[in-house]
Symmetry: D3
Subunit: 335 residues, 6 copies
């Protein structure tokens, strides 16, 4: 069956050199009958070598990867590489310009929509293009995330384990090569429609990672990506390591094993946390409490940790609805 995408690219993925241009996603609306959502894409290609895809802005309010990839696109010279690098620094473009996790056009969360739909909403069309056009073109994909406006994360790179041991091994090697302070292995999967799942289904070595969060731009997060990016390209043989480049620092391998690692707000209200990022906690320990500022005489309602672990993620915004994740933990990887 021919690919059914309606998106077309201004770039030629097979051409050597550096092209920086756009994908056209036809979007016919009242303000523009022949309008297009223009998704920036860069192709840097030189000779033979692996094909690599680097993406950011899968969630629009995660910025460190967007900045690192924009810098990379401007700075990279095709002569520095062997192979092909496809870079999409603002994958869900309408969300990235809007500074929101989801697209303002269709409320679509791109990272819950793979493998997408060529006839669907704009966000579904982007997912379909990545899944059916780009993934078959590459051997390696790193999708840089940052937790989004609502979460603060200790920065880490991440992978998911598939049923294919060889793919897992190659992915673990890449995870270590990237050299983030923490390397997280997701043993529980929130949703198979995320990028990590999509890559696995296409047999592509796929890394993720959360490099900041809260809707902020962290200097540290940008730096981790920029350094890791060069190391992973060197590891793949697409670039040669810069002279004098120090080896990747050791990565602490951790994992999220199951639902008990997550704590949820027990009531709607204003959440007061009791722990900080990187705190080690015990099952049963209080995690925080919900206040009722419209009725200050009402007692706050507490919630507790269900397992031991380290606080790797905290909710950012003070106001909560019942069921919002307020903390999740990680523990050292058991291999």
């Amino acid at each position: 069956m021919p690919n059914r995408t309606r998106i077309w690219a201004e770039v030629d993925y097979e051409k050597d050199g550096k092209q920086v241009a756009w994908l056209h996603l036809h979007h016919s609306v009242t303000r523009s009958a022949y309008g297009n959502i223009m998704i920036p894409v860069a192709v840097i290609k030189n000779g033979k070598g692996p094909s690599v895809m680097l993406t950011a802005g899968n969630h629009g309010d995660e910025y460190e990867g967007q900045i690192a990839l924009c810098n990379f696109i401007r700075e990279i010279d095709p002569g520095q590489i062997q192979g092909r690098i496809v870079v999409l620094p603002a994958l869900n473009m309408p969300a990235a310009l809007n500074g929101t996790r989801v697209s303002p056009l269709d409320q679509g969360n791109l990272n819950r929509l793979f493998p997408g739909d060529p006839d669907g909403t704009p966000t579904q069309q982007i997912a379909y293009y990545v899944d059916s056009v780009l993934l078959p073109m590459v051997e390696y994909w790193h999708d840089y995330h940052a937790g989004g406006s609502s979460l603060a994360y200790l920065p880490f790179a991440s992978m998911r384990q598939s049923e294919d041991k060889r793919l897992n091994d190659r992915t673990m090697t890449a995870l270590k090569a990237f050299g983030a302070p923490i390397g997280l292995v997701w043993q529980t999967s929130i949703d198979s429609r995320q990028s990590l799942g999509a890559g696995i289904r296409r047999d592509v070595v796929t890394l993720g990672g959360e490099f900041g969060g809260t809707g902020d731009v962290t200097i540290e997060g940008v730096r981790i990506i920029e350094r890791g990016l060069r190391r992973e390209l060197a590891h793949l043989g697409v670039m040669t390591a810069a002279p004098g480049e120090t080896p990747a620092p050791a990565t602490r391998l951790m994992e999220v094993r199951n639902k008990s690692y997550y704590v949820y707000a027990p009531e709607p209200g204003l959440f007061e946390p009791f722990t900080e990022l990187s705190d080690n906690v015990k099952a049963g320990q209080p995690c925080g409490q919900v206040h009722f500022v419209d009725n200050p005489a009402r007692e706050p309602v507490p919630c507790h940790f269900k397992t031991d672990g380290m606080v790797i993620c905290k909710r950012h915004f003070g106001r909560v609805e019942r069921g919002d994740c307020v903390v999740h933990l990680a523990t050292d990887w058991k291999g």
Copy 2:
């Protein structure tokens, strides 16, 4: 002229004991013809002594004060005090429940609306009530802020200088008694319609302060307020210092002298900061740059510091419009 407020209180401000109830702000709309915006208020009164007003939630997305005051209301026993404490932990109630700086009902920024209007929007009516009913009742007002969703602040208590030297001296003494790590004196005033200006016009010792920011709840900010609150009440003679209470830590006095302390985004886009909170910077030093993720080939546009100082405030959200304040500085107080 009689007070023209249309707001009425369930509490009796002259009654001894602890009352926790609501102000009724009549709000007649389609979903409720005889509806009310219910603003929580607590009055704790015992014998003779000064009258003090404590407020939070002037901006709805500033939470440390809201939590500290809710805790205070539940914990305080009238027998512990001499005088009267009026506490409004969620002053702009609709904004506080909405988790936004401004009211969702009228887009009103309460801290730009004093002295208010009894016939105006809900936010203007709240300002009028504070200004015309509550301020004449008290000698001391502390309005706890936190920077709001869009700003990260080093925590500090603050005051503004008036033309009345005696009022300034009393306010400076109170500022030191509160014992925040930093005590900021605003030499330049963004707007005379803020709470600090309103208090001065009513000859009330008035403190402010930013105890966190970014829409988060910081454990440190809650703690600074909770400790400072007891110290200021002791200073005023409303409470006696707790036995074993350590003296107020030294406060570093700083100031914001003029417009040159502020740096604004030079273009709309994605802002990458180059400095962290508490960094000391020099005039002419790069402050950050704006990226264009929809057009990654376009060079980022930088902005620079216009004076020397310490970074006391940074913009939180990555996305900026031209003219958003991205950093402001403070320098040590010159007295």
Copy 3:
């Protein structure tokens, strides 16, 4: 000072005969640079006699008066009257077309905006026109209401007492002449900016009344207005009583004396009422309770009557916010 209204009328208020046309309220917006809000107005005039104003649609979601007045406009023949009748069946036109209490253009509640503002929002401009152009033209004004979407009322006509005894007496006589089942005297005033207050300030005999409610069209309410309208015009000498017309039925005079007649929702949630319209209740008796359907294990929170009386008004919609009036009472008039 000349009248500063920017509204102009297609009708000539001094011309004999029947004119049905519009007021032009200039409203210059993106979809229409030279647009107008067109407020329907009818003038029926013949010879000499009193000038009377009849209005409905002050609140857009109160329909019985709108229907009765539209029918009246089409049916009335100028030869049947002596004097002048000015009829505005949809006073806050944008609200009436939108089926909402307040205007969709400016969220204005017309009955909280008298005497209005000629340079203000559309709703303020309407208020100004009524107050400054129409009220000085008439001796009598009946403004037919119905409680609006959020309230169910036992139907009644109403008046407010002013400090002018003569005006009060004339108004009471008119109230009885109208012949509603209940005649309500407001001893407490929610807001002086209502039509009843505006009429008093202009020394005009002014009646109101709630003839239904809940956003419904009640057959009974339309009938009460249609019959009462003819009786009040006969009473004023503008029409002669129809041959065979039965005399006005006796009106039970009641009153609302103070704030204690109102019961408010104690929490946000789903309100279950315990009483029906026309029930007689006692102070302390339970009025209803608020349920929490998102958390069914939580106990409902009750509220109680604060005084004795008859239930004349109940909240209609099940969902409540804290502070919504859920019931108000009336008691027999003490004169």
Copy 4:
């Protein structure tokens, strides 16, 4: 094929005792990356016996069932029953909290979305969970409705006839056991995607019913459900009849046979009805007329009944669009 729902339950459906907790519907949005829509669910189980599902809040603005089931959850003791009762008092939770028929998240009308979609919108995911997880677990389902904000109904319980005579007989017996004043048999089906159709497809005895309407909470409707609920549980053998419990009152069986029972608004405008609930009408008789308050000189446009019958349902809101159902009729059941 394994069940593909992404919803997980905090309750264990196989455990004896009473559990009151929530379903987690993962909803990842900007304000909460790891958020959940929390749908309240109670499981009351004891020993062996039939499995029964009771639901309300399928439409968010239908309240009598929500209240009756919240009361039931708090009051029931597992020792009182034999079997299992699964109770969801607010099935379309976001709609129930919003007081609207449809979900504010996706505009989904849950009762037009069975059998749902595990990868769809939140409302589609709820429908899928009910259809694929809960319905296979039970033999009996009563889904309590109330007409919603836009309709007023004479209260009745209802069923639909399937092609399975045995299922029809069991359902008719249950309908009579419930003991509502009216028992309605839908001979015409607006939409096969409603709960009554979903139950039939799963071979579950399924009842519905409209117990009020107009967005109000009727005391009578709550009472009919509370009494009927105990009777149907006794009928099913899940509870024993309370001592002294009176037998079910006789139910008048009625039906809606075809499209001609419905009358629609002929124009957009303000609808004035000519009949009341429970009136008996004749084909050709005027049903009401549409007024044009923006143009009072225009003649109203009438509409007429197309068949004989009793008015069992009336539109509530005065404003209509062309095609809104303004009345529908029922006639006595012909068996």
Copy 5:
């Protein structure tokens, strides 16, 4: 498989005479539980002859066809025709009443949604009804467009070429018979889900055309449709040519061959065009430039034509987003 549409028609398509009525599209929402979107339809039938469908309002903001078809419906007498004419003057009714390209209910662009979905959004349901109920009924379909609010067009009738030469020939003959000044053949297809594609898949002779644009009503466009409509009905043998009717004027056949005929805005901003409709341009010639009024010191960014041709379409609105089509060209048909 039986047709699964949920839409039902008040008209009988097989009945002789003229019927003007509505399609009922059930739309159950909070404001109307049993509401319907009422789509106007006229059936004019007399004796034997071809079946023809005429539609406008596929896009709600294209008006010339809506007016021409409303006039036609009122004026046509069944005795004037042989065969059947089905007329839908406002196909996407909610969009037509809203004056927008897409439906305000679901943001659906009807002309990107064929063949539709009977269980989908309102716009998808309309597409399904046209595709599965109406198209199988007719041999000929003319769907009159006008470019919509965002585009200005030189008026033309149009067709698309299919793989069926015979169908192409019949369509070309009809195109000439209609007699528009220009007859456009689309050699490149934006989207196979448009009406021209839907007609081809159903083996129906299908014409389109853009008869104005910019959201305006052009007198010339209405006239071209009204004259062409009579000529095409005469051509098909449904009407006889009016006595004295002049023959169809010659049509200039043109085509749009490929993507290079389109020019897109290179940046968001304010677009200044350099050419007018009907200008002949050369590849490389400047087409216009984007200004930045928020930053007037910034140089405008130009765009250029990529091929030779005549300007047949220009963007109307000054403000552009990157990727908006600002001009497209046509060239003479090469057959």
Copy 6:
């Protein structure tokens, strides 16, 4: 009284040379606590000579002046002038970026808000700054308009007559010097709060004019402004006429005398016009008619001209509300 504006300018109005920068209008909202609306301003000054203000974007969807002034700012060299030119190419900046007549922040129509309010909405604050800071600085103001999205205009320059004959004469001379094809004198004033009225109150020679409309950018309109601008600056002595510059073409002086020049839509619906711009019409002649596409059997409702004249303005959008101006006329100036 000191000027109370809260806006501050980056430019120094007294400095020689060319400055292109921004006004800061403080706008403190949730997304930016210390945000600013940045209004572009250019000051070109050299030696002694008159002070002139040129503005566009008073209405955001009027573009010809915005483009002409942006071009002028970039092209002008201070050495070319004698005196001072203050240029604001996007006066209501938020509206200009939004492409709407009114501001998206407060729905403010700047040209109905002079003299503004320093404590009001953003649009009122802009009006106050223009009125109180800029107007006192200049002798001449040309405010370029274009009719906005909803109107199509024959291009003209315009003035209003004040009670000051000398000011009128100077203004008429300037009007002729500008050299537009038509020079319009407003004898009737829609609103005294427009720029023409504000200029007169400040004794400033003030011109307006509509140079296009419909939300389009007309090449002709840009050209008329660009040529006229140089001619008016030469006329004022700020620039010397370019060598070889042709004299101003003759201007046809016309006027709008009273309300009868305007025709309004008689019903809501779809308006079909019967005349084109520049047509000469007679009183009583049909102007157009309103169609009802939701009910095609209903007869269209016509409207007629009330006086003789030339069509100088037509409504652009097809959809109308009752009271929208659909045409207005002008007649030759009677002096």
